[in-house]
């Protein structure tokens, strides 16, 4: 499956090694361009990658696509200021450095210096697969068709969806001695299904992994089964009842409300619910949350962050007690100490949205664990994930009644500051005697996430890695039954 470099040389570079060589060449050129400009520091982040995708519509493959994209971002320090600029053409190298210098005039950050050479880097597992990097459209077509067959095996229709792979690589060089390069892969797919049985309902399921090809038939089957069950109309009880949020639903709320409130600069400015609460009980005592940028197979796993700071695990909540916040190097420079005087340093959370974004503090792989034990390794679950014997509409053991909500709409309308939310579950499954008996359309869930996290939780065993739909954050979490939510 090894691909050749296409005829155009760098027109569309189709293998990782060549991309790395190309990016290093660009990064070195940019660094050299900065040498003669009297800078106090310069850092270049050159990144590039190839995305291949195959889209499904109404049970057949509608289109296939392939995109190669690269660019570089330059951060410069000059006379106590920081400037950032980006470009996508080699010929813009010097212009780009000069533009960063121009912007450094308006962005003072006195005393800041670029992160030092990181030394020995930690090992990471499960983020790059040569097989995934080498996949082309021909490899994806059968996977897309498997997804469709999975949906159709349940009598539902594969309305829209797709499968895709990508590889990405970056080279980070700085005048402070940072020289880091890294590559990763991702393969995933999902489908939105509909089922008509008098009534119409919809289902959605997707799986993704850095290295392991999901069982796409199972992905389709789960989406199909969800739609089938959605047509069995049942009326559930209203008011404050137990709600099991599936990993997708829970991570959308956490990604809008919870993880941004742990960004150090916001917390230290008094902007978030967790401001001034380190060391205090802020959640149920069975809850442990940490950010683990070395999580095997995590979607933000790499040996360093995007500033070249070696990755390390940061405890956030331990047995319900708030333990700390997240910082990149600029934020740590702005806020050198915690209220108790403890010195702050980067927690390896300087991430970039791509070459065109300067680094900023962002959670990486948030492990949300409301159980007594350590979660299973995402890699051990491997290929079995989608077919691990759990039912499609899996109800955590111990849940007697209420609703199971796999997906929610409108999480981004929540009040991220207060934690108040009111979201819509297009299909909410009614649970009675510990199993799903039917579904209700368009149920509204309202509550306050920070309050719900203080109530006793019940966790499932269906651990999943979920990519952030509104941020770059990755979550690793199971279905969680949370209290304090009102169903309308």
């Amino acid at each position: 499956m090894r691909r050749r470099i296409s005829g155009g040389g760098e027109g569309m570079i189709e293998d990782v090694e060549s991309v790395m060589v190309f990016l290093r060449d660009v990064a070195e050129k940019v660094l050299r361009a900065g040498e003669s400009l009297g800078l106090d520091g310069i850092e270049v982040y050159a990144s590039g990658g190839l995305d291949v995708g195959c889209e499904i519509e109404n049970g057949s493959i509608k289109k296939a696509e392939k995109s190669f994209n690269w660019g570089f971002g330059v951060r410069v320090l000059k006379e106590g200021g920081v400037g950032f600029a980006y470009a996508t053409r080699k010929k813009d190298t010097e212009r780009c450095v000069r533009e960063a210098m121009r912007l450094s005039r308006i962005n003072p950050l006195e005393g800041y210096s670029l992160p030092p050479e990181p030394g020995r880097l930690p090992d990471v597992k499960g983020v790059f697969s040569g097989d995934v990097a080498a996949m082309d459209v021909e490899d994806l077509v059968p996977m897309a068709l498997d997804t469709v067959r999975g949906v159709e095996s349940t009598g539902s229709t594969a309305l829209e969806g797709g499968v895709g792979t990508s590889f990405w690589a970056y080279v980070l060089l700085s005048s402070a001695g940072v020289d880091v390069s890294f590559a990763g892969t991702e393969i995933g797919g999902g489908v939105f299904s509909t089922h008509k049985n008098g009534d119409v309902s919809t289902g959605f399921h997707y799986e993704s992994s850095c290295t392991v090809t999901p069982d796409f038939f199972e992905v389709g089957k789960k989406a199909g089964e969800m739609a089938v069950m959605g047509t069995r109309r049942v009326r559930g009880e209203k008011g404050v009842v137990p709600v099991a949020l599936g990993p997708d639903a829970l991570s959308s709320l956490l990604g809008i409300i919870f993880s941004p409130s742990l960004v150090g600069k916001k917390a230290l400015r008094g902007e978030t619910y967790y401001s001034n609460r380190v060391g205090e009980v802020v959640a149920w005592d069975g809850l442990n949350v940490y950010d683990d940028p070395l999580l095997p197979g995590g979607l933000n796993t790499s040996p360093t962050d995007d500033e070249g700071v070696p990755s390390r695990k940061t405890p956030l909540i331990e047995r319900g007690v708030l333990r700390g916040y997240l910082f990149d190097t600029e934020d740590a420079h702005r806020f050198p100490t915690m209220p108790d005087g403890e010195r702050i340093g980067s927690t390896s959370n300087g991430l970039r949205g791509g070459y065109s974004s300067p680094p900023s503090t962002s959670p990486r792989n948030i492990v949300f664990n409301p159980t007594e034990t350590s979660p299973p390794s995402p890699l051990e679950k491997g290929r079995k994930e989608s077919g691990s014997g759990l039912e499609t509409l899996y109800v955590p053991e111990g849940m007697d009644h209420g609703y199971l909500v796999p997906e929610i709409m409108g999480a981004h309308t929540a009040n991220s500051t207060s934690g108040d939310f009111s979201v819509n579950a297009p299909v909410a499954f009614v649970v009675r005697d510990g199993r799903v008996v039917g579904a209700e359309k368009g149920v509204v869930l309202a509550g306050n996430l920070f309050s719900s996290l203080q109530k006793e939780m019940l966790a499932g065993v269906d651990w999943r890695l979920v990519g952030g739909s509104f941020s770059t954050t990755c979550f690793y979490l199971p279905t969680v039954v949370a209290g304090g939510m009102r169903v309308l």
């Binding site: 155009g8 760098e10 493959i61 995109s67 190669f68 971002g73 994806l140 309308t413």
Partner: protein, 472 residues
Amino acid sequence: MSCYGDVDCTLLEFALKAAEKMGCSYADVRFGVSRGTVVEVKNGEVEKTASGVESGVGVRVLFGGVWGFASSNSEMDRERMQALVESAVKTARARESAGSEEKTDVAHGETGKGNVFWSVKKPPMDVSPEEKVSLVLEADRVAREDSVIKSVTTVYSDGVDATSVFSTHGDEVYSEVTRTVIQSHVIARDGELVTSYRFRIGGTMGFEIFDEEDPTSRARDAVESVKRILGAKSPPGGKMTVIADPRLTGVFIHEALGHASEGDLVSAGGSVLRGLLGKEIASPLVSVYDDPTLRGLFGSFPFDDEGTPSRKKTIIENGVLVGYLLDRESAHRLSLEPNGSARAQSYAHVPQVRMSNTYVGKGDMSFDELVEDIKIGIYALGTRGGEVNPTLGTFQFGAQESFLIEDGEVKEPLRDVAISGNILQTLKDIDGVGKDLVIGDPGFCGKGGQMVPVGDGGPHIRIRNVVVGGRG
């Protein structure tokens, strides 16, 4: 035709000829160059600045009734362009070889020709970084004058998008559109109570937009609003009558109707509006339009991303569904004419059917008339955004600020009102439309992983039987 900026038109023509030689029944090629600057200020300090330029090319082909697409942002010459077209054709062939039965095609619509520069009075590229920062710092300073305000984040951004679209239907268009926007997030805290308010000013304009709408006066309004919300109670949950202000009416119609009227969803069977053309789907008081030709508004554009000249579309006229938003493929599949609704986030994205500036037409009621016979209800203003499942017709959106209405009077403030409903039911439950049309609230709309700038608006409207959710 002549060529502008960095665009080498002969290369685009070459791509189309290459696609035709390879047997493609249709092809289009888009070359885009985007320049932009971002300045972020937090509590009086500049936190981030970035500036840059990106460019690239995307080739879309229809081969054997199947779409293929390839894009790259490497610098192009003939050899590389040939390789890119081959790559697009190869992706289409891979799918074709799988024996997939469904074939598609495109409808011929109006052909786009010409160069359109939407000139602005104060091009952001001519404004110094210092002047941009001082505008943002002033809005930030004003917002922080009140001691209840704990934090203010203000982000300014500007950009110029230059796009060329050439197609085998004969389209040859080049456009340059400038967008300038400022948005601010104000956080207030009083003891344990903490809440926030956002505002945004933006349009297809240059720096002159701030002469028309002053960020400092919006910042002052934001402070007043967030103070009201801070002391407000949660709304009573349940079904009630809601009056939406023009901003909320805009996001309501965007979510509750706009998405479901997108031709790609309709033709794929993914919209509740399929098969309802010519049917009464809303109250006769309601007319809805989508208009990308309104110069200055955030969601405007002169040509769509297939090269079709943009035009005003009527979606609902006096309650009757009269049109969908259509690109060339969905027009073919629905046997209708394309109306210039294909939009892509960038050259690297495949165009989808999207909205532009979507709004409810004005009615004849005053605000007092809308409110006077409401026994208990909610007056909801501004928006925190929304989302829709167009297949089921379920939608959800949030208001920024709201007030209780009791016995025909607007009373105390409420916090965090979110509204849910079903498209086909809710459109019929609109029983009052105001005469105070305001269009142009800027926003970003996401679909299929792509974000595009849009505008929304309308008059005040009154909706009966809306499910209101507050805090649990």
